[in-house]
């Protein structure tokens, strides 16, 4: 799923206009709720904190929250229509997709992001998420014992670890597991070590962002 992290409160505060009189905090009930950053609970906490802040500045700002199922699909946005209309500014704590979808549907409205979209990842522990996929557009997991070298090697190396990999730890940070050690361990378990000797040609990145802004459609839903 898409993982997100609430922005630093100072950054949020600074992004709000000085002359603000009303604010809608729009939560999203899907991925970012699961990553405990953009759901109803966070929207409510944020509201209370900003209330406290404006009160301490002697300003009167009305703040309301509304959390919908998904901000990235039109139909759910109906529930936001009135709240968006009656507030001067919208702070969306959906992922970057949701923020923009909300903006596309509300021209003329200031829609601000309240969350940093971090990566596609899995929940690895309570309150902890790990990056697993870059969305490169061409999955190669079959060749690497099910461990993605693009997402899980800090340099996205396709032909083996760099010299900085030591005792299974990445040179970038002690908290990062070397992706190639993980590939190696799983390949060994599966009896696929030989595969790792195969030369990997430079990847065709045209299916990634390097090929331009991406979109695709399912032909079943389109008539000539």
């Amino acid at each position: 799923m898409i993982v997100g992290k609430l922005k630093d409160i100072k950054e949020i505060k600074d992004s709000l206009p000085d002359d603000i009189d009303s604010l809608l905090i729009a939560g999203c009930g899907s991925c970012v709720s699961v990553s405990l950053a953009g759901g109803e609970r966070e929207a409510d906490s944020l509201k209370e904190l900003l209330n406290l802040y404006y009160q301490s500045k002697g300003k009167s700002v009305s703040i309301e929250t509304e959390t919908i199922k998904r901000q990235c699909d039109d139909e759910f946005l109906d529930e936001l229509e009135l709240p968006v209309a009656r507030n001067q500014v919208v702070l969306s704590i959906a992922c970057g997709v949701g923020v923009q979808h909300l903006a596309i549907n509300n021209p003329g409205k200031i829609i601000l992001p309240g969350l940093d979209t971090t990566f596609y990842g899995r929940t690895s522990d309570i309150g902890k998420w790990e990056e697993m996929c870059h969305g490169c557009g061409k999955c190669i997991l079959d060749q690497f014992a099910g461990v993605c070298p693009v997402a899980r090697c800090s340099k996205s190396l396709l032909n083996g670890p760099c010299g900085g990999s030591q005792d299974g730890i990445c040179e970038v940070d002690d908290s990062i597991d070397c992706g190639w050690q993980t590939i190696y361990d799983r390949a060994e378990e599966l009896g696929q070590l030989e595969n790792l000797l195969d030369f990997e040609s430079p990847k065709d990145w045209s299916t990634y962002k390097d090929g331009g802004v991406r979109s695709h459609k399912n032909p079943e839903f389109f008539q000539e």
Binding site: I9, G29, S30, G39, E40, R41, D44, E48, N51, T123
Partner: protein, 459 residues
Amino acid sequence: MAGKRKFELAWIGDKEETDFESIQISAEDLVACQGEIGDFKLICNKENQPEEINVANIIINLPYQEEPVLEKADSLFSDDYDINEDKPVIILQDYPELSAAVISQAGLEKALEIKDNYPDKEVYYLYQAMRFIEDNDRLYERARESEIIFLKFDLGQLKIIEEEIIHYNREDIDLKLNGNILAAPELKPAKETERIARIFNLADGYKEYLQLDNIYLQPTLSGKRGVYLLKGSRGPTALTYFEEELDFTLNEVSKNLAGVTEIDKYDREVDDQKCILCYTCYRVCPHGAIQRDDELNSMKVMDLACQGCNLCLSRCPTNAIQIEDDYLKIEGENEQDPILIICENSAEIAAEKYNSMVGKDPLESYQKIEVPCVSTVERGQIFEILSKYSSDIMILGCVSEACKHLTGHDRCQQVVERIKEDLEKLEIEQDRVHYERLSPRMAADLGAFLADWKEALKQ
């Protein structure tokens, strides 16, 4: 049609003889555990055939793993050990760390067994501390009479040379012992322990055993109601009082079979329209009281397993869990009074004790929020109080190892730290939020401490 058979008790791991209608399940076969006390459903995988077993109570009784402390030594627990004609026998206890008390007994018995079989053999007994449980003192007496040589050591006074020779140096004794060593092995949790912890949603405790060091989990309770821990699943000391612990546990099982009641009168309902199955409640619940409701495709709180801490409510990202009780209500007469958020298992009890000791309620002239556990404190709630009231907030949690909900104090501390961080970033006064830890016994401290705080607030 007869209903599915239900067992009164399931043994995960080793089985002991009891009068209960019980079943033994190997840890390797167990895949999942659903349900709650009185009505657990254990999913097993026997040769890839799924099998569902209904049980009312569960005892996890995994063996210890014995890890030899010296490669070339025999185990003190083994009946198969070498005796060399010319060399002495050395019994080694408490190396490198202190052994469980029961090891003293095993060691003494072994030493005597050798001395009985080989009366001329020199037997050395090396130990850091002799523990006198049961009839150890009698065994020790006999051992001395049969001329077993006891050598007490502290760390650093014993060196193992080439794994065969022990160099003993204490005060004016300097000995090099070369003989057949029988060493007490180091005890470790069973192989399957980690998997079992996951299946039952139990926290890893000391040295990865399944029981946390917590006064509410004595002696064999787990965090999950109806699930008990014995021997190698409980901890390194569980061997010593095994019989007593077994008795206690079986007694608990009997009581459970006679009927169990819910912790409080409140239902904790999950709104299936709001629940997104993120499993946050399941993961944070210290009592394994939450499971997925397949029919509604949402999570559900199991009423008998629930211990009422409300942590699930406060951590649900979608506010999907509801309770009729307004447990965050502020009680007090004067809105200017400082606000106390108090844990009902520690500060609340301490306050009552203080009251009966001194005849004065230390909590009067405060506004109070009494919570089942301070872990339920939320950021939003504190911000709201700070903006509505002008007074300070003091949260009184419990001390580590005495939290009825296992980690409530730590969770609250994390929340308070984040609150302070956010306030600092917005340059809002952060000294208005305080957090202290108390045990229910600290009645006098509570009184003194609150008096001091109030004095400080006045200034």
